[in-house]
Symmetry: C3
Subunit: 211 residues, 3 copies
């Protein structure tokens, strides 16, 4: 199976797992798990295909990703209570999914447009939209608004992949480098609490005043 296919299914499966864990935290029933797992697992790739005009979207042409999402959701419906912290598992799986999906999204965007700027955006979008959708549907605070580095990791992974492709590295090498770069940045952010600086407050004003 080619490298991009592997990344695609890896991204789908781990994002689906984060959706199922979110459903478990919200005490939804088994169909709620399947729904939230599917929305998270295929949401980013669906938006990518729609924006690039690659319709019908990937899971209409081949429903295997839907089966993967449903299987992951059912498995987690019966096992999620075994984890000491579902939220911890969720954010780390989300990091794996983000790393796999940013390379997938950048590769598709680069192929469709030939533009590095577009590839960065489709990479970041594909990698983050599933999680954004999961948090919106589950009514949780969005992962985007947390202080640790998140979108930045997807941009770094996309950039490394695009740069390596531009340097004519083979696809598997460029993909592996991109995935690793994204995971190191996001994993480091989770483990060490890495953040980027935030904007300055007006002199003499309390920084928590947001007028």
């Amino acid at each position: 199976m080619p490298i991009l296919e592997i990344l695609n299914y890896a991204g789908i499966a781990v994002f689906a797992a984060t959706g199922a864990l979110s459903a478990s935290r919200k005490q939804l029933d088994i169909i709620g798990h399947v729904f939230l797992a599917s929305a998270t697992g295929i949401g980013g790739g669906t938006l990518r295909d729609v924006i690039l005009g690659a319709t019908p979207v990937f899971w209409v042409l081949n429903p295997a990703p839907l089966i993967v999402c449903a299987a992951v959701a059912v498995l987690l419906f019966f096992t999620a209570h075994l984890f000491q912290s579902r939220y911890r598992v969720l954010v780390w799986l989300d990091a794996v999914g983000l790393s796999a999906y940013c390379v997938m999204g950048a590769a598709k965007g680069l192929a469709a447009s030939g533009s590095m700027t577009v590839a960065l955006v489709t990479g970041a979008l594909t990698a983050t939209f599933g999680g954004v959708l999961r948090d919106l549907l589950a009514n949780e605070p969005s992962v985007l608004l947390r202080p640790e580095i998140y979108v930045t990791a997807a941009l770094v992974g996309s950039f490394v992949f695009v740069a390596a492709s531009w340097l004519a590295l083979p696809l598997w090498a460029a993909s592996t480098l991109g995935v690793l770069a994204a995971f190191i940045v996001r994993g480091g952010a989770l483990h060490y609490g890495w953040t980027l600086p935030i904007g300055r407050a007006l002199p003499g004003r309390n920084p928590d005043d947001v007028l």
Copy 2:
């Protein structure tokens, strides 16, 4: 008018009514009613068409659904205060819309892909996305997160329609069976409070801890 057209307009009109009732609960003005009614009435079908690549979407090709949404919204702007419980009317109309729209979505998905899995998903998506969008825009807790059976009803209706089509029943019979199946499941869930079991808690842990 063919059966699928009837279901389409029925789904649009009753979903539009739920959007207008939601606008009324939020004390929006008449244009707010029209906006929320339109988003709810055409949201599910719009997502379905975009995913299947059937663009321009249905209401660009023929704006009649927009007129229906606006007319329903104006009517309810002047009459919504007469209902004893706008919320009760809203959830029952939502049940009718869900039943009509899951069959519509499954039929379009089946025609576009030939895959039963895809038809189940487009059926469930078409039937539930309008309500999800309504609740997001109106800043209400999503109907997805309520304990009673919801997405399951759309899946059952889609499944019955697809199975009946596979058994070569005529379209009107397959459609009617699908609509009835979805409405019985969702109506029963509303009237009797039917739920599916939720996941187990970790032994020795309070089930309300969602770590």
Copy 3:
């Protein structure tokens, strides 16, 4: 540069600025500013293109709008703390963006469908979706739910543009009239607190009961 191009970039830049201001209020990092600015700046036009089937969407074909969004976001990341009230700047820029984008959306919708109803809807949708997306992603109360006139201004601007086009006015005149009409209505609503009447309450019922 033709008038519609100017309106397009004006809409993108000022909506991007509102997204960056929202990111600043949420104390996000610089990438958070770029993300929220881009989502707000290109969100409405992206939805418009997807619905009309004009894919790949505009910023995949020509990534200049992405550069504009990123530049505006970086500029505001370093300067947003200088404004006495970021929220006040945000809503007035949002008014400018809404005015530019409703004419753009109506023009594209009219060209794609030939229908005035469709043009009104694509105008209103293009003009309001960026702001709705910004508020959803930033977890702020949606601008749609505020009492002052908002969607109505986009509809008025779209209507004036479409009517002027129908009267065979030149494009620049129709566009200018549409932009001015929308801005007068929205600006007046902001300055004077214009509202439309809301629905009546049931006689004998407290108007704040939303049953």
